[in-house]
Structures are given as C-alpha cells and as structure tokens.
C-alpha cells in the first residue's frame, strides 16, 4: 500500500485542513445575551463594543468571553437599569480603568502624537517632495542625464541627416 500520508500534496492538504480547523475555533462569538430586555441589551452591546477588554486587549468588552468582560457587561446592564446615560457609563469605566478602555482615546496633550502623528508625517513627506521637485524644476536641462528616448531620437535624426548626403552620392 502506498504511503498516502507521506506524500507532499497530501501532507500539505492535511496541514491546510488543520489550520482551517484551528482558525474556525478562534472566531470571536458575540457574547450570549443575558437580559430579557432586547432594547437594553442592544444599548449595552453598543456601549461595550466601544470599550476595550483589559484581559484580552484586542477584543471589545462586548465580544470578549473573559470573566472580567462578562462582569463589566453585567455592570453596564445594571447601570443602564439605574437610568445612567451612555456618557456616565463610559465615565464609570474610565474612572476605574483609565483611558485605556476607550477604543477612541480622547484628545489630550499626551495623545496629540497619537492623533496627529500620522498626518504630520504625511505632511512632512509631502513638504519634502514639493521642495525637491521645485528645486529640480529650477535647474537647467544639462544638470540631468538626457533621457534614453531623447538620446535615441537624437541618434535617429543624426543618422537621417548623415544618410541623406550619402545616398545622393551613390
């Protein structure tokens, strides 16, 4: 019997299948709703999906299955039932865990670089580009290497000009 498992294609397929299986178990599930009140649940989900889970930091509190996230969802539900506004609930969270829980960090002196850094770098790059292009525009043509095309054209012209007298000779 041939050793099917030993064949490279089969092995590759198996590896792909295993990876696919692993990946499917990693897919984040929406947390199971607990409250009977769907409106409240929707509001809770909307608020907590703006908040970062502190245990698994790349998930929102709405998504995470961590214990703490479940507790914070419970806390959010209770605060909503007490009639707290969204703003008050977010403040409640930042009072305990800091701005870190916010997926949209507020604009402060310490977050200026975070907010404007990319734009500053882009503008810096654009400024350098403009300066370089302007400076080059002022240079005379002989500061540059002639284009290949120009050279080829010049060669052709020269040939044509040279060829004509030669032809008339014959």
């Amino acid at each position: 019997m041939p050793d099917i498992l030993g064949q490279p294609t089969v092995r590759r397929l198996l590896a792909a299948a295993t990876l696919a299986l692993l990946a499917s178990t990693c897919v984040a599930k929406e947390a199971v709703p607990e409250a009977a009140d769907p409106a409240l649940e929707a509001r809770m989900t909307r608020i907590t999906s703006e908040l970062r889970c502190l245990v698994c930091q790349n998930q929102t509190i709405a998504d995470s299955n961590a214990d703490l996230a479940a507790d914070l969802r419970r806390q959010t539900r209770e605060l909503l039932k007490q009639g707290k506004t969204d703003r008050e609930i977010v403040d409640y969270m930042t009072a305990r865990y800091g701005d870190f829980v916010l997926y949209r960090p507020p604009l402060r002196a310490t977050t200026m670089l975070l907010w404007f850094g990319p734009a500053i770098m882009l503008l810096g790059g654009a400024a350098v580009l403009v300066v370089v292009l302007r400076r080059r525009g002022k240079l005379s043509a002989d500061a540059f290497e002639p284009d290949e095309d120009d050279r080829a054209e010049a060669a052709l012209h020269a040939q044509a000009a040279g060829a004509a007298p030669e032809g008339s000779k014959a």
């Binding site: 930091q57 214990d67 806390q75 305990r96 800091g98």
Partner: protein
C-alpha cells in the same frame, strides 16, 4: 550646515527606531491605573473567615495599609504568596486580602495550605469591589495611606525587588508623613 542635510533622513530613521525599540520594552498588559493618588473606593465586605463580620473602608482610616487581591484559582498568586507571607512577618503594615471571585471553602483551604499573611481577607465573590478598584489581573497590590488615598498599585505577582525597592520605601515615607 547645508551639507549636513543629507543626514536628516538618517536622524529621522534613528528617532523612529528608538521609539519602536522603547515600545518593545513596554508591557502593554500594564495599564496605568487612574486611581493612583485618588481616594480608594468605598467598600463594605464580609470577611472570608467569618461571614458575619464586615470590613469597611472607613475602618482603615488613619492607618497605612496594603490591599492584596488574590484568589485560590489564581496561579500567579501562588507564586507570590511565599514572599507575601515572609513580608507579613516583618509587621511593617497591615495587609488585607481581597479574595476575588472565589469560593469561600476553596479560599480558606488555600490559606490553610499556603499560609495566611493577611490581617483579614475580604470576600468579594462577585468581583464588584474588584471592579471599583480597577482590578483586571489578579494578583494586584495596592498601598493605601492614612487618608484612604491609593498611593501605589502593582499589577501581577509581587517580587522581592518590588517589595524592597518600591513598597518598603513608600511605606517608610508614608509613615514619616504621619509622625
């Protein structure tokens, strides 16, 4: 001067590389607590060893104390525990435990097993006081001063180094301020 302009991209590269290198050393799991230098949240919890007795924040007024968040299910707590037991023998400061989201029987057995460094442990089975303290990774340790203000928070297991270089000097200073 103008001749050195070609160094600017190099300088920019090094600046960026330095920032990224520093970023590698930072621990993203250590979230700075907004509670430092703020009054500790009020709480009123039953004691772990005796559910009929409650401990309140106000009971601590006037003394410097330490709050250590732990749980019997927490592996890292086991790691720091011997150090905490040793530290408690120095009697520098009252140490209170916050038994976070635990089962009473498990927690008491755990203390019987590994030693009890705590003046008392508070039983926070639903983790509500933990949330008020901004707890997200057990173990965590807080130092709270005479006026009930949180002066320090350590996230993760205590180490001999943290105790000797951070907590003990802080306790000294706080007690001096008292005298």
């Amino acid at each position: 001067m103008k001749r050195l302009w070609f160094l600017i991209p190099l300088a920019a590269f090094f600046a960026l590389a330095t920032m990224l290198a520093l970023g590698l050393k930072l621990d993203p799991r250590e979230v700075p607590s907004p509670l430092i230098d703020k009054p500790a949240p009020k709480f009123s919890l039953a004691r772990l060893d005796d559910a009929s007795k409650t401990v309140r924040l106000d009971d601590m007024h006037g003394k410097v104390w330490m709050l250590n968040v732990w749980a019997s299910w927490c592996v890292a707590c086991r790691e720091e525990h011997p150090m905490l037991v040793e530290f408690s023998k120095k009697k520098l400061v009252p140490i209170y435990g916050l038994d976070y989201k635990d089962q009473r029987a498990d927690a008491n057995a755990w203390l019987a097993n590994f030693g009890n460094p705590y003046d008392a442990s508070l039983f926070d089975d639903e983790g509500r006081v933990g949330i008020d303290f901004g707890v997200y990774g057990v173990p965590e340790t807080f130092v709270i001063d005479q006026n009930g203000v949180i002066r320090m928070k350590h996230i993760g297991p205590l180490t001999a180094e943290v105790l000797a270089t951070k907590i003990e000097p802080l306790l000294e200073r706080l007690k001096k301020a008292d005298a």
